[in-house]
Every structure is written in structure tokens, then in C-alpha cells.
Amino acid sequence: MPRLFRPDIMVGCVIVGAFALCAVAPGLLAPHDPLQSLPDGLTAAGAPRPPGDGGFILGTDALGRDLLSRVIYGARVAVLMAVVPNLIALMVATLIALTAGYGRGWLEAVLMRMTESFLVLPLFLIAMAVIATFGSSTTTVVLTLAFVTWSYPARVLHGEVRRLATSLHVEAARSLGAGVMRITLRHILPHLTPLLVVYFTMNAAYMVMLEAGLAFLGFGVQPPTPSWGLMLADARDQFFRPWLIIVPGVSLALLCIGFSLFGNAAEQNSPFHGRRVML
């Protein structure tokens, strides 16, 4: 029985839970409107306020907007990107893995060659090119993130499906006369759950970073939507106001660490521990 109340899981829970709360109900937590330039948001000289100054806990940005509120609202984009493209990518990966791994034959050859070709590509560049082509609406960004991340899990899931396809319980089901659909859906798919959970948590951190990176270059969500990547893009030449770099960056890192703690624990508690899921 895996232990659930370990310190790393608890810390991960608190971090992810806190950001999830920010994402769901930012209005309850944020002290100000994240988009509004506040009348007292700038110092008399017109500079942003450092943390703690004038009642702004994390300070203000160059437009006099409250940084704490922007970080809280920015969690929306981050959590959205951690969940939605991640789910889409895993669904595609599972579909491909099941088709290839149980279908066998030329279909398997084509699908897995495609997956492997995809795997070695400079996917970040491709994501940039796709977003440049189709525009950077939230839907496009979500679909692009899914598009560039399905291949890795697909490969690992495929290996697992192949292993399961030759296992005794599948053989038993087949000898009882179960059809292909029934075997894949009832006897193979459920056994993929632990692997899917591991991937979901590990990928979540990766998705958040990917989106922030794209936004940093101008290919993610667009202003005025509060997003940590965009906040960092605004702050990139503001070295004399380090809090503008530190606040969104630390939020980003914290959320990623939270997901990684989960992912690590999920991997350790899964039957795949020690089999190097990430390879």
C-alpha cells in the first residue's frame, strides 16, 4: 500500500491546490483588478512600486498594476495549460498506442514511425511556426501544445500496450471469445491508468513551462490577459526592478515544482517505478 501522507506529496498538494484555487476563484483572492492601472500604483516619480511599498504586497508593474493580483489571475492561464492540452495529448497518445499496439501489422509500423519521427523534431520551433501560422488565440495555443507533446507518451504507452497484449489475462479473454474492441477497452485500457496518471502529472509541469516560454516570445496568450510568461516578457529589460522578474518567475517555478513533486510520487507509487518511465 503506497503511503499517501508523505511530506513531498503534502507539499505538492498545497502548492498545486493553492494555484488551482487562484485559477478557479481569482476574484476572491486578488486585492485589485489585474488589468487596471491603479491611481496610487506608481510612485511620485512615475516608477513602479517595489514590494511592500504603498500597501502593494508584491509591488506594482510599469503600468501601475498590482503584481499580486496579476500573479493570481495569471494562474488561470497556467492551470488551464497544465490541464487541457495535457488531456488532449494523452487522449491522442492513448488512441494511437492502442491502435498500433493491438492492431499490429502495417498500421502499427506507420503509426510508430510517425511517432518516432515526431519525437526527434525541434518541437518548440514547430510550435512557434504553427502559432505564427494560425494566430495565437487560446484555442490555437492549447491545440498546438497538444500537437507537440503527444508523441512521447504515445511511444511509451505503445510499449505498454504491446506488453499487455501478450499477457495472460488478455490471452484468457481472447480464448473466451472476446473481440478486439472488448479486449482493448476492457482488458488493456484500464491497465494504462497508472502510466497515464504519471504522465499527466509529469507533463503538467512541462506544459506550464512550454506555454510560458511561448508567451515570453510573444506566441502564447496575448495581452492584456494576465499570464506569467507575458509578465516576464515585459520585465526582461527591467533589471533595475528585479521584483518584476522574480515574482512571476517564482510563481512559475513553484507551480512546476508542485506538479513535479506529484509526478515523482505518482511514478514511485506506480507499478512502473524503477523501469525508467521517462526513457
Partner: protein
């Protein structure tokens, strides 16, 4: 007999090249489809906003945009085969010229980052495996967990702030060598150091518990020599295959790192091209980036075979 051996050893190479070509074809098709899907008119992008209808028509004819898609596709593949990647209208030069000029910068950055990650990460992982369960092992484990979760471009910004702006040890950007290379390479390699240390830690402790090491010990070989010669070799294989898999990721990271540090590599070129909607240059960067990854991948595979005689 000799012919047979040659064919046996040649078969994987042929398959390897075949797979590379297949991947390249895939990339070319993808970039071709993207070029077609882009909402901006390529002729308009070349001519600029003030061009007349007639000028647009002339450009369309000269770019052969009037031909059927299939014909254009075949021509696209044919010209890519001789490394003709089109003409960049934002820089008014052939795309392949621009990219060949920038490629060495990205290669230098990527190779420095890989060396950094292999040497530092490998040493940390090896030491952690030797002192398994000790304080150092735990510190490396937690450190790797945290470092992996740090967004690369943010690490770059922080390093730039601390060592470039506050301490003034390194330039704030640009490609002055060698001091301009240090921060970008550190940034790009840092996550890799964490990964490498974790994987080397796992494979090295496996190797340390193996019969190979037991046999070496039995023959009275010094522990230091066992670790530095034999365990390193055993642990090198897996880390090289991970490295090969992560190359695409590394190149993606390079785009961001180059943008943060103003490093004049391919990533920065692609970024500028995207901002100016310079289609041939964007697609060319994707293609050359893929070729770059594929070639280094093949080199790493060779290195792995060399290091671990079992895979020969």
C-alpha cells in the same frame, strides 16, 4: 563470408539513414502544409503593403504560386533536397545562406551546454551513486527536482541579472567569445545537469551492484579505477540515449535562451523571422533545426556503440 559481415554491419546504417530521410520528408511536408495554411498572402509579404494588383500578379507568377499544389509540393521537395530553402524577403538573402551563417552559433551553444550537462551532471550522479543514501545523495536528489522545474528562460534572466547586471562579470548579451558564451551555455545546460545526475545516479548504482563490478572487485582492482573506468562506461549508454531523445528539447530551449541573451543563433533568427512573417526563413529554420537534431542524434548513437562494446 566477408561480404556477409559487411552487409550485416551495414544494414543498421542503411535503416538509420532511411529513418532519417523519412523524418526529413515528414518535416518538409509539415512545413509545406503550414506555408499553405498561413492566412497571409506570400506574394503580398514579398511585395509589401503598397504593391499594386499587377505587381502582386507578377510576383505570384515568379514564385509560381499559380501552379497546382501537387506540382508546388514536388518542386518544394526537390529544391529542399539541394538545400535551396527559398529566399528571405526580410533579409533579402537566400534562406540557406542566413541559416548556415547562424548554425555554428547554435551548434557552439548546444555543444557547450551538452558538455556542461554531461560533465557536471555525470560527476554529481556518479558521486551520489557511490555515496548512495548519504547526505550528498539526498542533496543532489532534491536539487535536481527543483532545478528541473525551473523555467529555462527565467533562469537565464536571473543569471543575467545577478552575474551580468549586479556583478558585471559577464556581458548582458551578444556573442562576444568566450565570455558571452558562459551564461547562455549554463542556462541551457542547467536542466540537463539535473536530468543527467538523476539518470546517472540510477544507472551507476545499478552498475555498482552488478556482477561485472563484483568480478572486478574480486580481481583486486582499485575501487577508484572501477568507478572511473568501468561504471562510467556502463552508465554512459543510457545517458547518451536520453541525450539523443532530448536534443529536440535542447534546441527548443536554445530558441528561448538565444532570445534572452541575444545570442545570434538559429533560434533567434527563427524568432525574428516569425515576428516579420518571413515564411521561407521560418520554415527553413524548422527544417535546418530538424537536420541538426537528426545529425547529432546519429553521432550520439555512434558514440554509444563505441562506449559500450555490448551494443556493437
Amino acid at each position: 563470408m566477408i561480404a556477409l559481415t559487411v552487409r550485416q554491419s551495414a544494414a543498421p546504417i542503411v535503416r538509420r539513414i532511411g529513418a532519417m530521410l523519412l523524418t526529413l520528408w515528414f518535416v518538409l511536408t509539415l512545413t509545406f502544409v503550414l506555408t499553405f495554411a498561413i492566412p497571409t498572402d506570400p506574394a503580398r509579404a514579398v511585395a509589401g503593403p503598397k504593391a499594386t494588383q499587377e505587381q502582386l500578379e507578377t510576383i505570384r507568377l515568379s514564385l509560381r504560386l499559380d501552379e497546382p499544389m501537387a506540382v508546388q509540393y514536388v518542386r518544394y521537395l526537390a529544391s529542399a533536397a539541394v538545400l535551396d530553402l527559398g529566399y528571405s524577403h526580410s533579409q533579402r538573402r537566400p534562406v540557406s545562406d542566413i541559416l548556415l551563417e547562424r548554425l555554428p552559433y547554435t551548434a557552439l551553444l548546444a555543444v557547450s551546454a551538452i558538455m556542461f550537462q554531461l560533465i557536471v551532471g555525470g560527476a554529481l550522479g556518479l558521486w551520489a551513486a557511490v555515496r548512495s543514501g548519504g547526505l550528498f545523495d539526498k542533496v543532489v536528489f532534491v536539487g535536481a527536482l527543483v532545478v528541473v522545474a525551473l523555467p529555462q528562460f527565467w533562469v537565464g534572466l536571473v543569471l543575467l541579472f545577478v552575474f551580468g547586471f549586479k556583478l558585471g562579470w559577464f556581458p548582458l548579451g551578444g556573442a562576444s567569445l568566450p565570455e558571452g558564451l558562459v551564461l547562455p551555455a549554463l542556462t541551457l545546460g542547467l536542466a540537463g545537469v539535473a536530468w543527467t545526475s538523476r539518470i546517472v545516479r540510477a544507472t551507476a548504482s545499478e552498475a555498482l551492484a552488478s556482477n561485472i563490478v563484483l568480478g572486478l572487485r574480486g580481481r583486486g582492482i582499485a575501487p577508484r579505477r572501477i568507478v572511473l573506468k568501468h561504471v562510467v562506461r556502463l552508465a554512459a549508454g543510457p545517458i547518451l540515449s536520453v541525450l539523443a531523445l532530448d536534443l529536440g528539447l535542447l534546441l527548443g530551449g536554445a530558441v528561448l535562451v538565444e532570445a534572452v541573451f541575444g545570442w545570434p543563433g538559429m533560434g533567434n533568427t527563427a524568432f525574428q523571422a516569425l515576428q516579420q512573417k518571413d515564411l521561407p526563413l521560418i520554415m527553413g529554420s524548422v527544417i535546418v533545426g530538424s537536420i541538426f537534431v537528426l545529425v547529432i542524434n546519429a553521432l550520439l548513437d555512434t558514440a554509444r556503440v563505441y562506449l559500450d562494446p555490448r551494443t556493437r
